[in-house]
Symmetry: C2
Subunit: 221 residues, 2 copies
DNA sequence: ACCTGAACACCGTTCAAGT
DNA sequence: ACCTGAACACCGTTCAAGT
């Protein structure tokens, strides 16, 4: 008998040929289940009941698969509405962005790190810049949208990370020691805030602060 | 003769024993040179002329070494000054933060992802919360500081990433195709903004927007 | 206490060979 | 065209053995 656990797929493919779409579909499923960086090419092969090399044949490297997954996920976000006031349009779409990204852990972090460089994001960026420019920001629209979007995905990434609590030094654990500290009242306040864990409020607060800053800038320009 | 390249350190240690500090020192050097996530335990062993297992003996896992590096780097940032107006104090320290983090690539991203959970950051957090609370934000100080800090490290991480241009789909390359697009004027504006690459301006703009938002909130509370 | 050196259980990726 | 299956060159980590 062969020793050790099976390395390849347990069931040999006796099925119609795979294509790139099916590979990315499976990768989106694994991302939903485990997170974008929590699955391996070998796991994806098991999900598809194929050898890892088949994935390379249809899509390419792991990075290429990941980029396709992000593109799919970003494509799920409802686009900005140009027929309503700029602020309301952004609040709606950014709220929807959070919902979609929370269903696909790790994608927010990827966007924060890599930037929104997938095809599905480009339409939204174009519209976002035009809306901000039209609302009075003019040439500053691009930089303002960059700040707004990177703040949004960063806040979602922070929230995912706090919720997971996977890191070596978990933030709640570290701050918990100062929960009732009289010598460090600031840390005590931060500790109780982190304990409450109100992520809706964190996201809302951050987005509103940036939007306020942008609105003020509109008045000044 | 032994085949293949040497796996272990080329020169055997004939030196005084190592300690944890020296291991972290070396890791800080490698971080400065290559970035926090660009060196391996084996490379660190070569830098120290020791076997990888020695690192585990003195410090622990790679994550533990990384956390120590981040602590050291955060400790280099000039602390918030409580004797000047809150806004000036933050602008100064956040400017210094950017300089320090840019000298140690990858640390900004680690802070963005993991949160400022290293000992060296706690004093700064305590002071930051107290300053904001005293300036009129009261109970909102903790959430506001969270938003401000996460925006700052995120903007620095973005800047490092754009400068490196390491990712599969480089942002300049992707946007470059729309540089003179008439059908996507928003993307054209974004492309020319990214091309200019004025990172000082990006950081400054983002920080000032968030500070403006916080200042407005102070007036409302 | 500190270091040696091999070994383990993973990775992503490549490639000649099969059908 | 698409899939097989082994192999390569890495990782982080562990551990018995040496001094």
């Amino acid at each position: 008998m062969p020793n050790g656990p099976a390395r390849g797929p347990r069931i040999l493919r006796n099925q119609p040929p795979l294509n790139a779409d099916q590979v990315v579909d499976a990768a989106v499923r694994l991302t939903h289940r485990y997170g974008l960086e929590q699955w391996t090419i070998r796991q994806l092969g098991e999900e598809l009941e194929c050898w890892p090399s088949v994935i390379y044949h249809h899509v390419g490297t792991r990075d290429a698969v990941v980029t396709e997954v992000v593109d799919r996920v970003v494509g799920m976000v409802r686009p900005l509405d140009e027929s309503i006031p700029w602020r309301q349009s952004f609040e709606t779409t950014l709220g929807d962005l959070r919902i979609v990204l929370r269903h696909h852990p790790g994608v927010a972090r990827w966007l924060a790190v890599t930037g929104p460089v997938v095809p599905a994001a480009l339409r939204g960026i174009d519209r976002g810049v035009r809306i901000l420019a039209g609302a009075g920001l003019g040439d500053e629209a691009a930089i303002a949208l960059t700040v707004l979007l990177s703040s949004a995905v960063q806040l979602i990434a922070v929230e995912e990370n706090w919720a997971a609590g996977e890191s070596l030094s978990d933030i709640r654990e570290v701050l918990g020691e100062y929960r009732d500290s009289a010598t460090y009242p600031g840390l005590a306040a931060m500790s109780s805030f982190v304990d409450k864990c109100d992520f809706d409020a964190l996201y809302q607060y951050g987005i509103v602060r940036v939007l306020d800053g942008i609105a003020e800038r509109m008045r000044a320009v």
